[in-house]
Symmetry: C2
Subunit: 322 residues, 2 copies
């Protein structure tokens, strides 16, 4: 299996410049910097991969249109990027998708097709075939991984002597891309994935060397909706080659990281966006020492749930990251 | 009275590069961008002016030390900058200053001197004379104004065709600096100050052409603690020459802007930091049309108060901006 390389990430960086926010590093304490990807126009790093993936389509394919079956941050990002390119987009969403999530995608001009949850993938494939649309998956694609890798490129550019990069792991697109960039540009730094303990299938996949997929009902228990996805063969291959390890965090640790990020970083993070910071705050002894960057991957969270989290209550992501 | 000029702001920009966060512009809707100065290490734009003012002292003066009578964001910023320069610092604070505010300054190595509120200025002057310390005021100084002006420089660099810049007005350091930079670099753009209606002494000063100082008890009614200060002769002179006008916002409008910034910008704003956005949201008809930037000047807010604001409750700044 061909892995992406640093030149792919560099190419992505050139393409997306001006289309995504060049997020700064924010120093949060003596050895922690935040990479606030929640500041992207669609509230998550997903815009990087979606933008680069669209740029790589032929002009004809872009005119014909794209389709995805995400109902969360990837759909939102792809709709945003498609609008920029003038590319028609269809989002296949489960009928249970909340009105808020549908509206965010529809507001950017995408067509929504509501289907029973179990038919998402089959209907997506059928639509792609019938209408000549290109499927842009949320993480299982080299261009998407290369686009997300620009996060790592920017981290090393801004903090050349970084020692540790903590990155959330859901489907593995972000972590695969960041690990690729950091391994090439700062080989001595460790890229460490962070997963909720309730959805630690990537950790198990890395341990066993084979793709493990936990039952959906089991993964559904984490507040970090965006990290419920499972690795693909492609992302697993990248992580096996380039990730140092995975650490897991509890729901309480995630819940504590959200108000910490609001107070110390003055940023709004969704639970999925807070797991890397949670690892730093609660698992320092399990991490290498040194200058550490935590990727705050997204900030799409229901305001009432966010307010409750600040008071120590429960919190769930406002949009799935897939 | 000599006003600062664009070259002063350019010099400040060179000096503070690497010492402050180069904040990006965040697009919040079709015609609004946010300049999130709450992302600075001390949670507010004040670090710019404090850093530049310190850099302009002689090496001897920096060794001798600095003093200020701020109890809020300026003291916090000056303590941070002084620590970077290895400069001793004394913060003269009213005895009523909360432990949280004192601790933030003390944690950066500054000495705290608690005095009765009415004696702040006299004790500051006495300390300066007795110990050979330089007073670094929060806004009434050309170097502080030039440092804050770098916000305007960056806005024009990132959005060269900006039409309107909305900036909070307290003591007038930020608005004077931003108006200076924008007037020089993008003369067709309008820089508009925003004040709480409950502390609209700057608006009155501009209208009458003379320094108006509202009674402290009157100004104390606004939730935007950082904007309770009054202009100085120096800041008034800059604003008369370079500011287009001032608009005022109500407490309800400020309270509504805080959760809007959390949801749309994924940033934590204190009430003072939200007034420019409040003007955009509630006073569009009073503003020129076009590409608009709202400066989110700070994000130091008590977490419980912030949570209440997200639920539509009351909110007050966590640190005064002076």
């Amino acid at each position: 299996m061909r892995l992406i390389e640093i030149d792919d990430v560099r190419d992505a960086a050139q393409v997306i410049e001006g289309e995504v926010v060049r997020t700064p590093l924010l120093r949060a304490d003596e050895s922690l910097w935040l990479k606030p990807e929640n500041l992207q126009p669609t509230g998550a790093f997903k815009l990087r991969g979606a933008t680069y993936a669209l740029s790589r389509l032929s002009a004809q394919a872009r005119r014909a249109g794209v389709v995805t079956h995400s109902s969360g941050n990837h759909a939102y990002a792809l709709a945003h990027a498609a609008a920029r390119y003038g590319t028609p987009m269809v989002a296949v969403m489960p009928e249970v998708t909340t009105a808020v999530k549908r509206e965010a995608v529809r507001a950017r001009g995408a067509q929504i097709v509501l289907v029973p949850a179990a038919e998402r993938e089959s209907r997506t494939a059928a639509l792609a075939a019938a209408r000549g649309l290109t499927v842009v998956p949320p993480y299982d694609h080299p261009d998407v991984i290369a686009g997300q890798g620009t996060v790592g490129l920017e981290i090393v550019a801004d903090l050349p002597d970084v020692d540790v990069v903590l990155v959330p792991v859901g489907g593995g697109g972000l972590s695969a891309g960041v690990a690729t960039a950091v391994a090439a540009l700062r080989p001595s730094a460790k890229v460490i994935g962070v997963e909720p303990a309730l959805a630690a299938d990537a950790a198990e996949s890395l341990r066993t060397g084979t793709l493990c997929e936990w039952p959906v009902a089991q993964r559904a228990r984490t507040s970090a909706e965006g990290l419920r996805g499972s690795l693909s063969a492609l992302t697993l291959a990248h992580l096996r080659a380039r990730l140092d390890r995975i650490v897991t965090v509890t729901e309480d640790e995630i819940a504590a990281a959200v108000p910490w990020l609001a107070a110390r970083g003055r940023v709004v993070a969704e639970p999925s966006g807070a797991v890397a910071t949670a690892a730093y705050l609660h698992h320092r002894s399990a991490l290498p020492p040194g200058r550490t960057v935590a990727v705050v991957s997204g900030g799409n969270v229901d305001p009432a749930a966010f307010a409750a989290a600040l008071r120590g209550g429960e919190i769930r992501d406002g949009a799935q990251r897939d």
